[in-house]
């Protein structure tokens, strides 16, 4: 470093100076583009907050309608076991047909029908049944409502039976009952907010990693400035890499704001693993995914087209990432496709670091896969860009 600058080191210095001024230029241009900055800020702050608060896959506030033909101690007891926050009792009705109409109109999700002589039959040990009608138009909610309701009814039945058979200790112990007792790991409170806000953050990172460099490149094409750059001594590589560098820095900053400004303080998302590792792998992901944006920019002529192209690329990428639907439930051929999505590995890495506290020793295979796939994508984008101008 202290040696006199020879022609080689001078050339290197100029190379770096060029890269630096170009990167600075990209940042300046981005921050003067008010709509895109507003979109960026919203996506990484307010949108994360709203999604974290709003989206629940757990059963929450399912509206319950009851037709109680018995009006006994037992029926009241059963009804009151359907409790908040899972269920919300809408009321009782006299006519069972009315209940069906409520379901049809979507005003109730669960309709519980208790037959006459319910209490009497329970007490005498006769078999009895309650009917449960569930609207599963929204299948995850509906199915879990059905599941919860079945559990409640079953437990109520068991307890009644136990109480009836006798209060003696032995007899109850002799009953062959398997108790399934589960223990939740990594997200002990089974807090949706964590998962949803992390998923949202990853979605935003992916979208912007493609959109920002693509928009920056296509803007140069649209305004004819790229021609001016091509007759200058810049190489195509310098033109491209400066955009990717600038946008990676911006996205990393936005991620930090989202993580330390919203997710950690508001939702209490734990950051169990190494922050440095998380940010370096995010940088790797953004950098490589940007290649896809650059490829998209070479296929389009203006910003509107590049916006649509981004949608086209992002939608399948998100679907195949396991962010919305877990990989395990996909058909086999889709699972093979998913192996090709770098986002899938990045999701594994993020969950691993943030929620499980995993380190590089457990994540190395995902990191390797992501780096290889992303590298290939970046190479493809680079190749498209060079080819376009030669």
């Amino acid at each position: 470093m202290t040696s006199a600058p020879g022609p080689g080191s001078q050339r290197a210095a100029i190379w770096w100076r060029r890269l630096a001024v170009m990167t600075r230029k990209e940042m300046l241009q981005l921050f003067r583009d008010v709509p895109i900055v507003a979109f960026l800020v919203y996506s990484f702050t307010l949108a994360v907050f709203i999604t974290g608060n709003g989206i629940r896959s757990q059963l929450h506030n399912a509206s319950l309608l009851v037709h109680d033909a018995d009006h006994s101690v037992s029926s009241r007891e059963l009804i009151h076991r359907f409790q908040a926050p899972f269920f919300r009792l809408e009321g009782e009705i006299a006519d069972p047909q009315e209940g069906l109409r409520w379901l049809d109109r979507g005003k109730a999700m669960v309709f519980l029908e208790i037959p006459p002589r319910f209490h009497e039959q329970l007490m005498t040990g006769e078999p009895t049944a309650v009917q449960l009608l569930v609207d599963t138009t929204n299948s995850p909610q509906g199915l879990s409502a059905a599941g919860y309701a079945a559990q409640i009814v079953e437990r109520f039945g068991q307890e009644t039976v136990q109480a009836n058979v006798g209060s003696s200790e032995e007899s109850s112990q002799n009953l062959p009952i398997i108790v399934s007792d589960h223990r939740v790991w990594y997200n002990q409170d089974q807090n949706d907010t964590w998962f949803e806000s992390i998923s949202h953050l990853l979605r935003q990172i992916t979208i912007f990693a493609i959109l920002l460099p693509a928009a920056a490149l296509v803007r140069e094409k649209e305004r004819g400035t790229v021609e001016q750059l091509l007759v200058s001594p810049l190489t195509p590589f310098q033109i491209m890499i400066s955009k990717v560098l600038a946008m990676t820095v911006v996205i990393l900053c936005a991620t930090a704001v989202s993580l330390f400004g919203i997710m950690q303080p508001v939702f209490g998302v734990p950051i169990k693993g190494s922050i440095v590792l998380f940010f370096s792998l995010t940088a790797l992901f953004v950098f490589t995914t940007a290649g896809m944006g650059l490829a998209a920019a070479t296929l389009t002529r203006n910003q509107a087209q590049v916006g649509m192209m981004t949608l086209l690329v992002v939608a399948p990428m998100l679907l195949l990432s396991g962010l919305t639907t877990p990989m395990e439930v996909m058909p086999a051929w889709v699972r093979h496709l998913m192996a090709l999505s770098p986002l899938r590995y990045y999701v594994e890495i993020t969950h691993g670091i943030l929620l499980k506290g995993a380190g590089s020793s457990t994540l190395w295979d995902s990191v390797l896969a992501m780096a290889l796939l992303g590298g290939a994508l970046f190479g493809f984008g680079m190749w498209r860009f060079r080819r376009q101008f030669e």
Binding site: R17, V21, Q29, R32, R223, F389, E390
Partner: protein, 659 residues
């Protein structure tokens, strides 16, 4: 003048009074009064941002306005329903090449679409289509998709589509911007014919001062106001004076001396052009001689001032004196003038089976301004792209700034400056940020960047604009900033691809002033392409390209002399029935006779005998001649003459082959 007296008796078709139009804080039109009569070709002349487009859109009923009154066909256009009542009677061609057309449709499909949209009966459509496509020479390309047409062809097609329903009023917004002189002449041919035959009225805007003679009446616009209105000769008469052109050496010293006494002095290649208020020819010459002192002027020529001189004089009268630095700060390094800056030898470039550039050779010395002219699609831009290293040539070789084009592309890129057709700087960066960016790209260190930044700001007159975003600058200032950025690394060779589109005459003069100083003072070689033939006059040497080849090369003077030898001298005839006069002259064997507004231009090989013959032909057909005067040949005449001759040759050889 008869054509005019006819029109004065007819009803005004458009009446605009006190019109004001505002976009947010920006006043685009500030109080315009205008009356256009039926059967007129009315011109709006002025630079970008003068308010031409806003005025035309208001008249076409597609833009609302803040104050004033607009009446078209006797209907007051003040609401949507009122606008709907005039729309079917007019045709509107928006600004921009082929913007009203559908790129995927063929020429014929585009015409058919617009005709059916306007409910033109099928029989009329067939007739009109055949005729219009024939005049514009587009009939050979009926099946070609519009997107594959050249700029000039697109614009001609756009005009056909606008006029296919034979509207009573045609509103054409800068129809000839970016169109080469030959296509431009075709364009005027259709318009003059329709106006003559169908009594159509046309409102046309242009940024080309030299098109002014095409109009019956015109208004000069600047900054949302009308500077002057009237017939071309009335407007010219507003600023009496003479234009003096001569040679004087040393040129720079002569320019400096003359600038002390005259407000309008410019270098035109080896010549100097001065406007003086003196109308007497001898006195005008004397004033120039006084201004020059001990420098003697050679080949002095005194003409009536052209419209550009008048426009500039009017702007100057308004006190819009140029803010820009008059003294170009000397840059430390003067370039060695002896070497060749550009040497092209047999350059060839093929795109698949199409040969865009065919064995092009020329040389440009250091300190020379070299103009590359040609129709749209003649191969000019491809030549520039090869010389600047964006495009590898298929064959041939070239040296640029002392390096081999094929081997040392990187070295060349460091030694040249380039300014492209479209404004190619970052509109969302400030003036200083743009300059610093390019300084960085060319690898200048801190110290150099600082000195060059100062130099550019002085040179281009950018003081006061430093922290303005480039997008907010007036066109002329932007153009000088782009030039500054192209010069940041002291290039030896400067490439300019149609750099002055849309810049007002003052801005354009200032721009050329800088260019000639760069060439004369610092020895920079400049290669420029332009569609403004008045600009080509500034070049030291010119090469005309046609179909990928260089067909003639020489100084502007040589080229004119050459055409005068071949085709004869140019005469302007003022007669009472100009349209009839053109027909009669063509019948009498003057094939080049053409209508310019109310005047007729023709070539005479033998000034005395031909003139006599023409006068007789006209007199025998009952046309009264008011005057026949010799006109200096313009480069536009040269360009059109050359290209038309080549097209005729080509057609002859094609039909010869097919026989």
């Amino acid at each position: 003048m008869n054509a005019l007296t006819q029109t004065t008796t007819s009803q005004p078709l458009i009446r605009v009074s006190g019109l004001e139009k505002q976009y947010r804080q920006h006043m685009a039109v500030r109080g315009i009064d205008l009356t256009i009569r039926q059967g007129e070709i009315y011109g709006l002349i002025g630079p970008d941002g003068a308010g031409k487009s806003s005025l035309m859109k208001v008249i076409a009923g597609v833009l609302s306005y803040e104050a004033g009154a607009v009446e078209v066909f006797g209907i007051t256009v003040d609401s949507e329903p009122a606008a709907e009542r005039i729309k079917h009677r007019l045709g509107f061609l928006p600004q921009g090449l082929g913007l009203n057309l559908y790129p995927e449709l063929s020429v014929e499909e585009n015409v058919d679409f617009f005709a059916r949209l306007r409910l033109v009966p099928e029989r009329d459509l067939a007739d009109r289509k055949a005729r219009l496509l024939a005049i514009t020479r587009l009939d050979r390309f009926r099946d070609r998709p519009m997107k594959h047409l050249s700029g000039g062809m697109k614009q001609k097609l756009g005009l056909i589509c606008t006029l296919i329903h034979e509207p009573e009023l045609a509103i054409l917004d800068e129809p000839t911007t970016g169109v080469d002189p030959v296509s431009r002449r075709d364009f005027w041919a259709i318009l003059t014919e329709l106006v003559q035959e169908r009594r159509m009225t046309a409102l046309v805007s242009t940024a080309y001062m030299d098109e002014a003679s095409r109009f019956h009446r015109l208004s000069l616009l600047s900054n949302g106001r009308i500077l002057a209105s009237g017939t071309p000769s009335e407007v010219q008469a507003l600023v009496p004076g003479s234009a003096v052109t001569f040679q004087a050496a040393p040129q720079l010293e002569a320019l400096a001396r003359l600038r002390k006494t005259f407000t309008q002095v410019e270098a035109m290649g080896p010549l100097i052009h001065v406007f003086t208020e003196e109308t007497e020819r001898a006195a005008a010459k004397q004033r120039i001689a006084d201004g020059l002192g001990d420098i003697t002027a050679g080949e002095v020529r005194v003409d009536d001032p052209d419209l550009e001189d008048v426009f500039v004089a009017l702007l100057l009268r308004q006190g819009r004196l140029k803010d820009a630095g008059d003294v170009l700060p000397p840059s430390s390094a003067r370039l060695n003038r002896d070497g060749l800056a550009i040497e092209a030898k047999g350059l060839v470039r093929d795109f698949r089976s199409f040969r865009a550039v065919d064995r092009v050779s020329f040389q440009v010395k250091q300190g020379e301004i070299f103009g590359l002219l040609g129709a749209n699609g003649a191969g000019k831009t491809t030549v520039i792209k090869m010389l600047t290293g964006i495009l590898p040539p298929t064959g041939g070789e070239g040296r640029v700034a002392g390096a081999d084009m094929r081997k040392a592309g990187g070295v060349i890129k460091e030694r040249i400056g380039y300014m492209s057709q479209a404004f190619s700087l970052y509109l969302d960066l400030t003036v200083v940020e743009n300059i610093r960016l390019f300084a960085g790209i060319y690898g200048l260190d801190k110290e150099e960047t600082r000195t060059r930044l100062e130099w550019i700001i002085r040179m281009a007159g950018l003081a006061g604009y430093e922290s303005d975003l480039a997008g907010r600058l007036p066109m002329g200032v932007r153009q000088r900033l782009a030039l500054g950025c192209a010069l940041v690394h002291r290039p030896r060779v400067l490439f300019l691809d149609e750099p002055t589109s849309g810049v007002d005459p003052l801005g354009r003069r200032h721009f050329w002033d800088i260019l000639s100083r760069l060439a004369r003072d610092e020895g920079v070689a400049i290669l420029i392409t332009t569609h403004y033939m008045s600009e080509a006059e500034h070049c030291d040497r010119l090469a005309l390209m046609y179909a990928g080849r260089v067909v003639t090369e020489g100084s502007p003077g040589d080229m004119k002399r050459h055409v005068e030898q071949e085709a004869g001298h140019l005469f302007e005839v003022i007669a009472d029935q100009p349209a009839k006069a053109v027909l009669e002259l063509r019948r009498a064997g003057f094939a080049g006779a053409a209508l310019y507004g109310t005047r007729v231009h023709m070539f005479c090989r033998d000034p005395v005998r031909d003139k006599e013959c023409a006068c007789q032909a006209l007199a025998s057909s009952g046309v009264t001649i008011q005057s026949v005067t010799a006109r200096p040949l313009s480069l536009e005449d040269v360009f059109v003459y050359k290209v038309m001759a080549l097209e005729d040759q080509e057609r002859a050889s094609v039909s010869g082959d097919s026989v």
